[in-house]
Subunit: 117 residues, 2 copies
DNA sequence: CCTATATATGAATATATGTTCATATAATAA
DNA sequence: TTATTATATGAACATATATTCATATATAGG
């Protein structure tokens, strides 16, 4: 790989070291997938609402101003990524955040955006 | 909007309150766009390398095992999102992280992934 | 000026992704 | 059972996005 580098401003040793310390490809891919989930306006809205309180699909649909079907599809993605969990009561399914780290992520990203003004 | 809600497990008052506290749509969109940048394996790799040291395009290309053109395209996205900054020396362009919050984001996300095992 | 090198960029392509529509499933009530 | 309601899901469609290829730009050296 290093032989492709004609610039090579850093030594092979440094390159080796950087590559060795890197999380393995699987972890990096998981990390990218994790961020990707947050990288959508609709999902971000749903997560925000759920950060406030447990909500059923219909209420989420009303709050986010999205079709019920679209909400269900996005909730499925959030569920598969274990960001939300469900509780069923009759025909109503209640969703809530599965992990409170999520709020921290929000805050950190907002902080970053604030500093850019 | 609330009249679309047939489930309405929460009161109109609660809905109003949740919606009023929500960051405005522009901010939410910015937040989504911000996360979207991290939601790609290639960009995440580039950001990781840059979190270690300042690097030129050719070295990034070698480290990430990506074509030079692909690297340039992705670096442009990172630049437009002000995640990296550049320094030019002759024909060589050096890239580095523009903000150290990024490392915190990495760590927080990794922490989240760790807990899911 | 001409050549070589590092980087940037536009167009084309392939793939991924979000929404909609129609419909299926599950649970409850009559 | 039948009807109703809440939610889930598959297919189709439109859009977004990452990569590649070819080429442009910029800088340095001869």
């Amino acid at each position: 790989m290093t032989d492709l580098c004609k610039c090579k401003q850093i030594s092979d040793k440094e390159m080796q070291s950087i590559i060795q310390d890197m999380p393995d490809a699987g972890t990096m891919q998981n990390l990218a997938d994790f961020f990707k989930v947050f990288g959508d306006f609709s999902r971000l809205k749903l997560l925000y609402f759920l950060s406030r309180t447990e909500l059923c699909v219909a209420d989420l649909s009303a709050l986010a101003n999205m079709q019920q079907s679209a909400v269900s599809h996005q909730l499925k993605i959030l569920r598969l990524n274990r960001l939300v969990k469900t509780r069923k009561e009759g025909t109503v399914v209640y969703y809530s955040l599965d992990d409170m780290h999520i709020k921290n992520l929000f805050d950190l990203a907002l902080e970053h955006l604030e500093e850019q003004k």
